[in-house]
């Protein structure tokens, strides 16, 4: 190794190119190598909704950002240190995110007159001096890739497809990452097409070799980033979609119930359907329904039949499921509804992240229809939260909404694998013996208020349920005014009572009372955490509270919030948690809102913290 290698604490690299350039693949393979070297990391795929937008256009640009370091990494990084731009459009779209003075690696071979035009450049930015404040690394990756793979007999198009591996090879060299896991992966992926595997490996090696030789004329520097000090254990890189799906299966196993997923394809929730569909060997039943309504109805029908019903979707799909959710509340059947939120309203921005379905989750049904709502904060967190959703659904005989978002679903981070044998089982209880008084489907557990559950097939427990109001005493249809009041109150009390069956709200960082609490939920965890950490390092009296249980909230929430002079609520919506907190606890919560489809930057939250403290003077 060269002695010129510069040691960095962390770095942010953004790979950007055409949708067809394989940038997501490049990024995820860079991630694999980085994870295996022991650095902590966070990744963020940022891709367009169009599957293959016209090549070279700005709206067809796909990007993948990774923040990795020898320290704990909680966000994908505010501004990349290095931008890899595979064409002019990728440069145009992503330049604004790059930190001042950052490095731009461009493939000059793609900066043709035609591509410049398509990207909307009047002049070539590589030549007009507009990039002089950046560290520009120009290389003809196109030409060098074609050269590297020329012995494998590929056509020009196929040869150019190896360009991403050439670029990856160079970046692996630049950050002193290991090529071996990627070579293994290529061999496995193209096991049936050895020529393609060999060509890609040759391109990868050529990119790496280019780094070695280019170093001689020092236009490119080389860096290294050490391993993070992590808790001992076995780790792997996981996306939110994967860990959430696995958590649902774990939850069904802990409940000792057959899992039946009813789902309908929708961005960005489809990977949950895909992941669970691959797990049939574990007895997982998945059903791709004709629409969102049928998806939840099938899950509910399965719950009626004694299974754990699951449905997964995103905001517009959840809207369609609303009536069936009401039926699940009325018939008090266990159901987990996963909402992987995206930009709204309506179709909104399917591939961009947002957390604007909180009102929909808590309030969005006809009638007084309460249900538990819980949220996940990160890809690794999804596993535990999914299990918790299953626990609440079965223990309390209720639908539960689990809020994730597009960022969490697609982002990846290292996950310390849980001890699977130590997970606490919560077996569902079915009515099997019928007493002399007969069977009443709405007889309740005194503590949880959950109704008893007898499934079709159970002798002697025949009963009818439905969406019409039922008598508290018999479960039969009832329009009695006092009974409706009692049933409405009981349904509310059942959900409210969950507050005593969940952990008390903790303070993630800082004191349990003080000048300012930054209160968040969901995927804003990373940037809030970093911003609070930075503020506290400057001696500021700031605490971070991150809420998992949104309905009901933990029983100590009122006292906890009352202990702070100011409450700042950063959200990727126009202030939904802020309103809920004000309503429930009569606190003067200040909103910090961002609805750009992009996660918060740490600096944005830092600025709001400073403003909140400054006002206090």
């Amino acid at each position: 190794m060269s002695s010129d290698i510069q040691v960095l604490e962390s770095a942010v690299v953004r790979f950007a190119g055409d949708s067809g350039d394989g940038m997501q693949l490049t990024g995820s393979q860079f991630t694999t190598s980085t994870a295996l070297s022991g650095s902590d990391l966070a990744t963020f795929p940022d891709f367009p909704a169009e599957i293959r937008a016209p090549a070279g256009t700005t709206f067809g640009v796909s990007a993948f950002q990774i923040n990795f370091g020898a320290k704990k990494i909680k966000t994908v990084g505010d501004a990349p240190d290095v931008l890899v731009a595979m064409n002019p459009a990728a440069l145009k779209v992503n330049l604004a995110t790059l930190r001042p003075g950052g490095m731009i690696v461009v493939d000059t071979g793609s900066f043709t007159k035609r591509n410049l035009q398509k990207a909307g450049y009047d002049a070539n930015p590589l030549e007009d001096g507009s990039l002089e404040h950046y560290q520009l690394v120009e290389l003809d990756a196109t030409k060098m890739t074609v050269e590297a793979v020329k012995d494998f007999g590929l056509g020009n198009k196929e040869a150019l497809r190896c360009k991403n591996m050439w670029t990856l090879g160079l970046m692996l060299w630049m950050f002193s990452r290991n090529r071996a896991p990627i070579i293994d992966w290529l061999k496995a992926k193209f096991a049936k097409l050895p020529d393609i595997a060999d060509a890609n490996i040759a391109a990868l090696n050529a990119g790496h070799a280019f780094g070695e030789t280019a170093e001689l004329h020092s236009s490119i520097k080389r860096y290294t980033i050490g391993a993070t000090k992590q808790e001992p254990g076995i780790y792997k890189t996981v996306t939110g979609s994967e860990s959430l799906s696995w958590g649902l299966v774990a939850g069904s196993q802990l409940a000792n119930l057959q899992i039946v997923l009813g789902s309908y394809p929708i961005t960005p929730a489809s990977p949950v359907l895909h992941t669970l569909s691959k797990m049939k060997e574990l007895g997982v039943v998945t059903f791709q329904a004709e629409d969102e309504i049928a998806a939840i109805c099938a899950a509910l029908g399965a719950a009626y039949g004694g299974a754990l019903g699951i449905t997964s979707s995103s905001g517009p799909g959840i809207a369609l499921k609303t009536e069936a959710l009401g039926l699940a509340i009325s018939t008090e059947l266990p159901l987990v509804v996963v909402n992987v939120q995206r930009g709204g309203p309506s179709t909104g921005m399917p591939t961009k992240t947002e957390q604007s379905d909180l009102y929909q989750a808590i309030y969005g049904r006809n009638g007084d229809a309460p249900l538990p709502v819980i949220s996940t904060r990160s890809p690794a967190d999804c596993f535990e939260v999914a299990i918790e959703a299953c626990r609440l659904a079965t223990k309390y005989m209720t639908p539960v909404i689990l809020l994730s978002d597009g960022f969490i679903a697609n982002a990846a981070e290292p996950w310390k694998l849980p001890d699977m044998d130590a997970l606490e089982p919560f077996p569902a209880k079915f009515v099997e013996e019928i007493g002399e008084d007969g069977f009443n489907p709405y007889k309740r557990d005194e503590e949880t208020l959950a109704r008893n559950w007898a499934v079709p097939g159970t002798p002697g427990a025949m009963h009818r349920i439905g969406g019409i109001e039922k008598s508290y005493d018999t479960g039969h249809i009832s329009y009695d005014p006092a009974n409706h009041q009692k049933m409405t109150d009981t349904r509310a009390a059942k959900v409210a009572g969950i507050a005593h069956d969940i952990p008390l709200q903790d303070v993630d960082q800082g004191a349990k009372s003080g000048k300012l609490a930054v209160v968040g939920w969901g995927s804003t965890y990373g940037p809030i955490s970093e911003a609070v950490k930075a503020a506290r390092a400057e001696g500021k009296d700031v605490s971070h509270i991150h809420i998992r249980y949104l309905n009901p909230m933990p029983s100590n929430m009122a006292d906890l919030l009352a202990g702070f002079d100011h409450i700042l609520v950063p959200e990727m919506n126009t202030g939904q948690l802020k309103t809920v907190l004000r309503d429930r606890y009569l606190v003067d919560a200040t909103p910090l809102n961002k609805v750009s489809g992009q996660p918060f930057k740490i600096t944005e939250i830092q600025a709001a913290i400073n403003a909140a403290l400054g006002e206090e003077g």
Binding site: G38, C297, A303, P456, I468
Partner: protein, 339 residues
């Protein structure tokens, strides 16, 4: 196993007071079901009635079996999930022309296409009863109703053609008052392994009285109904002197008089319930002057398996071939160890 005493109509009758309008055709269908289930060897605990919204959808409350009164149009989707959770249940979906063909038409179509092993009874009274008389997808053009005070202008749908077009492999039609005909249809539907679709011509005494009487009245019935039996000639009429032939030139079924113009019984078509093309033509019979409406089992052609059985067969096959656990999957792939 101890010997079970034979169940009776009483066992299948719930303790709930029936709340349909006096004279409603639903009573007759309910009684027929309560009477026929014991004859079919059904058990109380394995029988489930799933319904949507509408007058007919109150049906489950009156059956002393398991029952799920769901939401408008969604019974087929809920029943599909129920069968996925427990393929052994005997599931009946109760729906109407509004519930099953309008708001829930999509689910009905896909349940039939998938061939979920359950029985769907569609009570067709050509009207929205529970919401007080608006026209439905099976109402004829020109019908006066609160929502069409000057007559409806949209053409109506034939439920049997819809079911066949959706891929149904068992399709039958009967009448609410036909207490002798209906049990046989129910039995055939239950026996069929897959989605069996039964249209029941049902009279709404309040909002669409006599909507079917030109077909169902005692006097009219022999001339207006063609009672199908597999392997039997398609002969009808009070005098049993009318029959159905295939008119190749017009590519349709045609009524002929036996003994006139040299027509003999040999010329009359024999019903083959496995013939899909014939079922398509029979479905539309009755639209022309003098044509009877086909009653009984129009089509009965079982597939090798049903949807939920295929789903579970795949799961069982993959599960039996794998020793992996969830832990293996979670701990699989590229991992690293921090000491």
């Amino acid at each position: 196993m101890t010997e079970q005493t034979k169940l009776t109509i009483k066992d299948f009758t719930s303790d709930q007071e029936v709340r349909w309008c006096p004279g409603c055709g639903d009573y007759a269908i309910l009684k027929c079901m309560q009477r026929t289930l014991p004859e079919m060897g059904a058990t109380l605990e394995n029988t489930v009635f799933v319904s949507g919204i509408g007058c007919s959808s109150r049906f489950p409350y009156y059956m002393n079996t398991y029952g799920f009164h769901t939401i408008h149009g969604r019974a087929p989707a809920i029943a599909t999930g129920l069968k996925l959770a427990n393929p052994d249940l005997d599931v009946w979906v109760i729906t109407g022309d509004g519930d099953g063909l309008s708001i829930g038409g999509n689910h009905t179509m896909h349940m039939l296409r998938r061939n979920v092993d359950l029985n769907i009874l569609l009570f067709n009274n050509k009207i929205y009863g529970l919401t007080k008389g608006q026209y439905s997808p099976t109402t004829e053009v020109g019908h006066l109703s609160p929502s069409t005070p000057f007559g409806s202008v949209d053409p109506s749908l034939n439920p049997i053609s819809f079911a066949l077009g959706s891929g149904a492999r068992f399709v039958a039609r009967t009448v609410d008052t036909a207490q002798k005909h209906m049990p046989g249809v129910f039995m055939a539907a239950k026996e069929f392994k897959g989605a069996s679709f039964v249209e029941i011509l049902q009279n709404c005494i309040v909002y669409n009285d006599d909507a079917w009487s030109d077909i169902t009245e005692k006097k009219a019935a022999p001339e207006k109904q063609l009672l199908l039996e597999h392997g039997e000639k398609m002969i009808f009429g009070a005098e049993r002197n009318k029959g159905i032939v295939f008119d190749l030139a017009e590519f349709r079924l045609k009524v002929v008089n036996i003994g006139e113009d040299g027509v003999t019984e040999d010329d009359i078509l024999t019903h083959d319930e496995k013939n899909h093309g014939m079922a398509r033509l029979l479905a539309e019979l009755g639209a022309g002057d003098g044509e009877p409406v086909a009653m009984g089992v129009l089509y009965n052609s079982p597939a090798e398996t049903s949807y939920e059985k295929a789903v579970h067969a795949q799961v069982d096959y993959l599960a039996s071939g794998s020793k992996r656990t969830l832990k293996d999957i979670v701990y699989g792939g590229q991992t690293w160890t921090v000491e």
